[in-house]
């Protein structure tokens, strides 16, 4: 079965379940059953790979993605990945089922389920990806989904927000180190695999795992440390363990799944994945051993001090993760077997215990151990589950946890030299603490007398299914070691090994027995012993200090932001200048050239260009010196038109047409906007224009100097650029040569609508986003909502919001004469006809979908200006800008995606007239019905709608606002 399909399934299901119709009409039971069934199906699909894996030890499925960068969409399934994937899907199925009965509110359940599915998909991608970069992306996805799930109740729960942020901060910080480590690792592999080819990055997992000499590379200490940091933070290793107890604010199914069975094991997966090429360097294994052992001890000890059930489970998870990390760090890969058994055993018993904690929380409303007791009568099934799982955690014979502990002790005894004594004492001490915690779970929650004041209500029956099946797993797999566990491990463990449910009364067994008995003693005297010991410093304290330093630094950075444009301009200009001068680019380019023209001869066309250029500059200066804003706006229009003429002279008719239309639209917009700003406000600013803050001319002088310096710099840069204009690149030649094949006469049109249509799609997306931005700016928040308090403000507010509109110069009704009305009525159909012609015949001359949209938009804006908002809305009921914009974008997207069905790729060229058999018919009108034509139509529609949004928002903000308030 295709691994890509398996990985994609949870995402697809999440997408399906998040559709509004599905969300509302499908009941919670059905959603639950469907989700659990899909996960279970994936579990069995993965199992089907077993025979293949036995034959060839690894399955790789690879599709080229970005071949030039050596990045492929590749999946890599070996024994290690299979064990993890089976846990993700198998334990996942049970937890998804549990979640369906844990939540009472269907809407909350749906949201949770969708996010948990997204997590499941990301986690599968982590373990199955065959490319480092893919793995990293998936790794980050698990952090993000985990963030959402931890902060699931964040809208009303401060602790949930803090826990979520803490988890993201620690694991996200680790991921930053990880990506640097990955980049260095892949560069190192590139050096070793292709020594003669300069810098190459090898990201393919299979290739990396084949580089045997990696551990001798000179960068090894750096990237090993970075990768270790990433994995240690993710797997909650001491001293980064503190985020995991904080993450217990997540709903319990998420805690059971992410923070016990799967996500926190991503770091472990990474270590196990990389160990074959890295273990030979003692730095790698010693650090793993050190961090693993310290985490194991710290976690086991702190677990005993917790009064919250989930916190206790979280710390004991930390401890178990530490044990597994330490096992991976044992010299010579001798602990891999113990690590894998530990992973399976822990996934089974710990998620069962988490689900029990969730059920208890659901039934009693509390998770505090001191308030609980006597639940064995009310919840006999949960009691049984807890006894099995907690004893498995403690390591009692015949349970899977026992086998895990046996292999762990065995590995430490035989392979941890030269640290055997230290490692063994840490492991034994932690095992004692863990067993004590297991006893506490059984006794304090279920057996000791019931406490007063705790209300109990029976949870739904089916909520038991998950925990019961998980504990049956702990029970049976402990016995069925040889038929079930051993074949799986054989695929993943590099050495031959023996593993039995019960290895006999050997050294290790007696050690185990001593641990269980000592734990019993500790359990009896737990209160006085545990409460006396305290750790002087906690990871949480360091985290809080760090965060406060970051806040402090942020405050200081904020002080450097003055808010004055001149300040930023000077810094930007200064940096650009310094870099250019320091790099020496300018001097090498200009070497042997004179900046000033030597040949002063001009022909008549050049004269026309020079005249137009002078016109732009003159109009520009006029915009500065003129007092009235309307005249400045019109002068700006002159600049735009003059550039349009230059484009025309420069043999760019398409550009010229767009330029003329857009400049018209822009000038109209500026003038419309002026009409919405009261004359008093405008008069006051023009009167004060030349007066500085302190009635001096210093400010004016300063601004003049800054702008002239910038202008001169731009002049020099552009002159250098123009004199060193590069030779035409071949890609334009390709466009010129291939346009004829598309039946397109206008090469620019062909580029816009076909060769580089994705650019155009993006451009339209940007344009409509800008339109939405204008709408949001002007329709949200009431005018005058921020009353002015400063002296200048009080003066301003007198003429501000209260009197707004009284002295608006350009009132819409004053323009509404019979003549203007008739003009606007006549202009619109003409504009629409011109637009249609521009679209249909865009291929053979200037004009395309965009110009068509602007032409129609201009005609419509005339209606608005002449008739006013309400009248125009009544006369043009079909013109609903937001709807039209969406329609245009939708058509564009469908048109872009449709060619994929025909195997032509995104935005491929489709000739609909050929397909429909009307080629000759439409051809007789000089038309060609292709995907480009549809694209042009969609652009025209989207642009028309976008312009409508902008005009409505700028010309009639109050009307639009009152509309959006309703």
């Amino acid at each position: 079965m295709n691994l890509a399909f398996i990985t994609a399934s949870p995402f697809l299901l999440a997408l399906l379940l998040s559709l509004p119709t599905v969300r509302k009409s499908v009941s919670q039971q059905i959603q639950t059953a469907l989700t659990a069934a899909v996960m279970a199906a994936l579990f069995f699909l993965l199992l089907l790979h077993l025979p293949d894996l036995r034959a060839q030890s690894v399955i790789i499925q690879r599709t080229d993605w970005i071949p030039s960068l050596g990045i492929s969409l590749s999946f890599y399934l070996d024994g290690l990945a299979l064990i993890f994937a089976l846990i993700i899907t198998g334990v996942g199925a049970l937890i998804f089922f549990f979640a369906g009965y844990y939540f009472d509110d269907p809407a909350v359940y749906n949201r949770f389920n969708v996010w948990l599915l997204a997590f499941a998909g990301s986690m599968l991608l982590v373990v199955l990806s065959g490319n480092l970069l893919m793995m990293f992306v998936a790794w980050e996805l698990t952090s993000i989904t985990s963030f959402v799930l931890i902060g699931f109740t964040g809208d009303r729960n401060q602790a949930a927000r803090e826990g979520a942020f803490k988890a993201l901060f620690v694991t996200g910080g680790g991921a930053l180190a990880l990506i640097i480590g990955f980049v260095m690792l892949s560069a190192a592999c590139g050096q070793l695999l292709h020594p003669d080819e300069g810098v190459r990055f090898v990201t393919d997992l299979a290739s990396i795992l084949a580089v045997d000499s990696l551990y001798q590379h000179e960068w090894f200490p750096i990237f090993a440390a970075l990768i270790l940091f990433g994995g240690l933070t993710k797997s909650a290793q001491f001293p980064f363990h503190f985020w995991l107890p904080g993450a217990m604010t997540a709903p319990t199914p998420a805690s059971a799944y992410l923070h016990s069975a799967t996500m926190v094991k991503a770091g472990i997966f990474l270590f196990a994945r990389m160990s074959p090429v890295m273990y030979k360097n003692p730095l790698w294994s010693d650090l793993l051993l050190f961090f693993g052992l310290s985490t194991m001890l710290v976690g086991a000890f702190f677990a005993l001090k917790q009064r919250d059930l989930k916190a206790l489970l979280a710390y004991s998870t930390v401890s178990a993760l530490g044990a597994i990390v330490a096992m991976i760090g044992l010299p010579g890969q001798n602990g891999i077997k113990a690590a894998l058994v530990g992973i399976i055993a822990h996934a089974l018993y710990k998620s069962a215990l988490f689900l029990v904690a969730g059920t208890i929380d659901h039934a009693t409303g509390t998770r505090v151990i001191d308030q609980l007791g006597g639940l064995r009568r009310q919840m006999p099934y949960m009691f049984a589950v807890t006894v099995i799982s907690a004893l498995s955690m403690a390591g009692v014979p015949l349970l899977l946890g026992f086998v895990a502990k046996e292999t762990l002790l065995d590995a430490v005894l035989h392979y941890s030299a030269p640290y055997t004594l230290a490692a063994l004492s840490v492991v034994v001490a932690s095992a004692v603490f863990t067993a004590t915690a297991g006893y506490m779970l059984i006794f304090d929650v279920f057996i000791k007398d019931a406490q007063d004041g705790v209300h109990f209500h029976q949870p739904p029956r089916l909520i038991r299914a998950g925990p019961i099946l998980l504990s049956i797993g702990s029970l049976t797999l402990g016995v069925l070691i040889e038929p079930v566990i051993v074949p799986l491990l054989r695929l993943a463990v590099p050495k031959t090994f023996e593993l039995q449910a019960f290895a006999g009364f050997n050294q290790v067994f007696w050690l185990s027995a001593i641990i269980l008995i000592v734990a019993l003693l500790l359990f009896a005297y737990r209160k006085p012993l545990i409460e006396r010991i305290r750790f002087p410093i906690s990871g949480n304290y360091i985290y809080r200090e760090l965060i406060s330093y970051i806040d402090w630094a942020g405050e200081n950075v904020l002080h450097t932001q003055s808010g004055f444009v001149r300040y930023y301009l000077v810094i930007i200009l200064g940096t650009v200048g310094a870099v250019l001068i320091a790099s020496g680019t300018l001097t090498t380019v200009t070497a042997g050239q004179s900046l000033f023209p030597t040949d002063l001869s001009v022909n008549i066309i050049d004269l026309a260009k020079i005249f137009m250029l002078l016109l732009t500059v003159a109009a520009g200066i006029y915009t500065i010196v003129v007092r009235e804003h309307v005249k400045a706006a019109i002068a700006y229009g002159v600049i735009g038109y003059a550039s349009g003429v230059i484009f025309l002279i420069e043999h760019a008719p398409d550009v010229a047409l767009v330029q003329l239309l857009v400049e018209t639209m822009a000038t109209v917009l500026i003038i419309i906007m002026l009409g919405r700003i009261s004359t008093t406000i405008r008069r006051r600013v023009t009167e004060n224009l030349w007066i500085g803050r302190h009635k001096s001319n210093f400010g004016l002088l300063r601004d003049l100097v800054i702008s002239i310096v910038i202008g001169v710099a731009v002049f020099v840069f552009s002159l250098i650029a123009l004199q060193n204009r590069p030779e035409r690149e071949s890609i334009a030649e390709w466009h010129l040569a291939n346009s004829a094949q598309l039946n397109v006469e206008d090469v620019v049109g062909a580029i816009v609508a076909d060769f580089r249509a994705t650019d155009t799609l993006m451009e339209i997306a940007v344009f409509t986003t800008a339109a939405l931005g204008v709408l949001t700016l002007l329709s949200r928040g009431r005018p005058g909502s921020a009353p002015l308090t400063s002296p200048a403000g009080s003066e301003a507010s007198r003429t501000g919001s209260d009197s707004e509109g009284d002295d608006v110069i350009q009132d819409a009704t004053s323009l509404s004469t019979p003549f203007t009305r008739s003009v606007s009525v006549i202009v619109l159909p003409i504009a629409i006809l011109i637009g249609i012609a521009q679209i249909l015949y865009g291929g053979s001359g200037p004009g395309d979908g965009f110009t068509a949209g602007v032409t129609i938009g201009l005609a419509i804006s005339l209606w608005y200006v002449v008739l006013g908002y309400n009248e125009a809305k009544r006369q043009l009921p079909w013109f609903r800008p937001a709807f039209i914009t969406r329609l245009g974008l939708l058509i564009a997207l469908i048109n872009a995606l449709f060619p994929i069905l025909l195997g032509k790729g995104f935005m491929g060229h489709v000739e609909f007239d050929q397909i429909l058999g009307i080629y000759d018919f439409v051809g007789s009108f000089g038309l060609h019905v292709t995907s480009s034509l549809i694209f042009e139509i969609s652009i025209a529609i989207a642009v028309m709608g976008g312009l409508g949004i902008i005009i409505e928002a700028i010309a009639f903000p109050r009307e639009v606002q009152s509309l959006s308030d309703e």
């Binding site: 919405r676 006051r684 339109a771 707004e804």
Partner: protein, 114 residues
């Protein structure tokens, strides 16, 4: 010569636009912003379109005439559209400031910070 004139005009338009941005009048700042866009578009066309003597149409290519660079023209088209989008956003901002604070003087708006 024409290179020099183009560069001079672009530099001058840049000066004008930047100067408008630095002054107090937000309406003129918006116009200055638009002038900067024009200057940049002019620069593109100056860099790209000179060598050809005919518009980039297939019939001109087939008849062997030297045509101007079509790719850079397509890029300018995109630039014009996007700059128009930005301009309308700036106009929306100015409009919002005038409605909310009753002024289009950036000095008055600056005073609100403190």
């Amino acid at each position: 010569m024409i290179d020099f004139m183009f560069a001079a005009a672009i530099g001058a338009l840049f000066s004008i636009g930047v100067f408008q941005l630095l002054r107090r009048d937000l309406i003129k700042a918006a116009i200055g912003f638009a002038i900067l866009f024009s200057a940049i578009n002019l620069f593109f066309v100056a860099v790209g379109a000179f060598e050809g003597e005919f518009a980039p149409y297939v019939r001109n290519v087939e008849e062997g005439r030297s045509v101007s660079d079509p790719l850079i023209q397509a890029l300018i088209l995109t630039a014009i559209v996007v700059s128009f989008g930005s301009l309308s956003l700036v106009l929306g901002l100015v409009n919002m400031v005038s409605r909310r604070y009753g002024t289009v003087d950036s000095n008055d708006v600056n005073k609100l910070k403190h």
